[in-house]
Assembly symmetry: D2
Homo-oligomer: 233 residues x 4
Amino acid sequence: MSSKTARISTPIILVNFKTYLEATGEKSFELAKIAEEVARETGICIIVAPQTTDIRRIVGGVDIPVFAQHMDPVGAGAYTGHVTAEAIKEAGASGTLLNHSERRLRLSEIDSAIERAKATGLTSVVCANTAQVSAASSALKPNMVAIEPPELIGTGIAVSKAKPEIITNTVSFIRQIDREIIILCGAGITKGEDVSSALKLGTQGVLVASGVVKAKDRRSALLDLVRAALEKA
Amino acid sequence: MSSKTARISTPIILVNFKTYLEATGEKSFELAKIAEEVARETGICIIVAPQTTDIRRIVGGVDIPVFAQHMDPVGAGAYTGHVTAEAIKEAGASGTLLNHSERRLRLSEIDSAIERAKATGLTSVVCANTAQVSAASSALKPNMVAIEPPELIGTGIAVSKAKPEIITNTVSFIRQIDREIIILCGAGITKGEDVSSALKLGTQGVLVASGVVKAKDRRSALLDLVRAALEKA
Amino acid sequence: MSSKTARISTPIILVNFKTYLEATGEKSFELAKIAEEVARETGICIIVAPQTTDIRRIVGGVDIPVFAQHMDPVGAGAYTGHVTAEAIKEAGASGTLLNHSERRLRLSEIDSAIERAKATGLTSVVCANTAQVSAASSALKPNMVAIEPPELIGTGIAVSKAKPEIITNTVSFIRQIDREIIILCGAGITKGEDVSSALKLGTQGVLVASGVVKAKDRRSALLDLVRAALEKA
Amino acid sequence: MSSKTARISTPIILVNFKTYLEATGEKSFELAKIAEEVARETGICIIVAPQTTDIRRIVGGVDIPVFAQHMDPVGAGAYTGHVTAEAIKEAGASGTLLNHSERRLRLSEIDSAIERAKATGLTSVVCANTAQVSAASSALKPNMVAIEPPELIGTGIAVSKAKPEIITNTVSFIRQIDREIIILCGAGITKGEDVSSALKLGTQGVLVASGVVKAKDRRSALLDLVRAALEKA
């Protein structure tokens, strides 16, 4: 792993910027700066996942791990319009989300992308929509699996409160296959108590997007999540 | 399970008709008839997987299990142009291949399609291109997993001879996750000895396509495979 | 063209069975029989588009044109799980829908599928979601283009009443490119007056699905549409 | 259009960096610098299309039009892992390729992406694999259409020499639909004479990738192409 991924510690707050205008271009840099400050003040590991166009700029000015939101399972060569491990690594990313519910991949593509991530020294986080899919994802040996029931994404109804059994099943299924892999959960996370529940249920962190990106006070929203993580850390 | 799937026993010879003209329409029926005769004479379980257009006709005149080659993870409703579990079940199929290397599915689609197959009483066979993908597939709890390295498909170079370690890895990885699931292997299978090797390596059967469909004497080609299975049965 | 496609005359009522249970298996045959009777009694051209599994059976007992709902742009060979022109032709279909909003294709795939349909003697109907896409589709020289705004599909709000400008734009754009191609419209068609409006706006027929398939009295529903077409014929 | 797209003039040399390592990161900047120098010295319009991760950096230091290689037909919002018009515009791109043969799009996606490009002030270049697809693409009203037979891409056998009839058909078909649209051609372009042929056949420029990116002397390779364009300019 690169030096930046080495800095990853649990619990993890991973902030997905999606393609929100509130986290595009200059605004993505501002949000990453806030995340860096909160991470430094609290010691909690915050990872940001901006759009591909913004990776290099954020890495240039912010000292926390930066992940891509997606990576294609192809390498250098005649692959017009694809996002390669080589490109995001060169831009400074230290990891990538894979198979987010808004960007689903074929099973064989996830396998291939994880291999490419490993070969390039990138941390891979496979997103999954069910406990079974989480288990299957863990069998591919990524660094992390993130369970996110798509029906709760963007609702503000936290998966850790509304569907705790999905998380406990995910943890249980994955742990039968892999003892070490980091398990995150996401969907509807907006408050500190959502993070507390998630950690209590056996995960090592959360994925959050609109709950921070579209918050009126983004620093406060992030701090609220981080403080809940601190209790556990 | 339906009465037809109940008749499935190992070892299994699963013949994939693909879209070969030699196994389309009237010719698909003739080939299914040959498979039925060989199955009856030898007692070995032969499953045929014709094109969707030919399922009903074959089921109407041939008394061996008939599988679809693919099924979409959608149900009855406004899904123009899709192949549903309900439709292939109604046509008489008792199972389906999923995620063949020529028809790859997203991970979440495979999970959903397996659920639909179960709910409809269809046997599901997930195809996988690597040992890792095989393991991941088994975590989704289909009835069978078939390992098929795509680079050997159609070559006549049997996976069980050319890449035995892929099969042993697949068996080993899957057995850590599931003790019961039926494991098949395919790609390049044309001769009885390919089947023998496959079974010795720990699988419960083979997937074969051009090796039978495009053989000069299809009955002989199939008999050769079945005799090798008989030794093991 | 085959003898069956030769029987196509305008105006056209094309009934898409989708994957509705009310039009699957035995029920698809019953519905096709109703369509045949109404077509014979009135002389209006009714085309049915059942699921692939039901094509052969309907063609075997019903004497009206039968279309597939989708066709893949691949031919005979190693294409597991695909629907080829050869297969649906052999099953007795005389045409196919392409690019339905529930089964969108890549531009190059539509081009290739039209070529395959022509080579096999199948009538091709490309579905389009906007007037621009309709114009683009007509440049690929299929036999018919069907404009269907997806937001109205299944609503019962007829495109010909709710968005007449989409139809007039479609007709205008297409006619600048091709004088001959048959233009259909669909989405929300349930009543005779929807057909009348569609024909007055310059189309040569309609695509209808739930308006007939899910009607309480399917024969009456179809007759209502056909009578409106008769006035124009 | 933005001030940068306003600077586009024909004939055009569009250099697609694909995901070649020779045009990734720092090396993409170097290649863009070479393109800028050649453009300044000769007055010929050279457009570069680097990977998304490199757009901002190149725009920051190089004063020629920079295009994305691909753009998704989605906007700002919950679209994890997508490349939006807003993001590439904000990064400084003034246009985008769409539907490259290595990144094919659905017909409806091309239509939607062109709309989004227009709304954002980005120049759109739709790539097409046949003359029919070129005509269809022009009906969608992008700013440019680029005909590229995929079988010649990367071969060094120039489309303008090997298949001139594809280009003349493309020009003829498009001009029946649109008098103004800029027509490019690509695939196998490596030498000045390939550009001369392309322009003589009625195009307004070329798409080139490996012919420049992987040339031993990239400046010389580009100059060779540009000089041929100069004769025509």
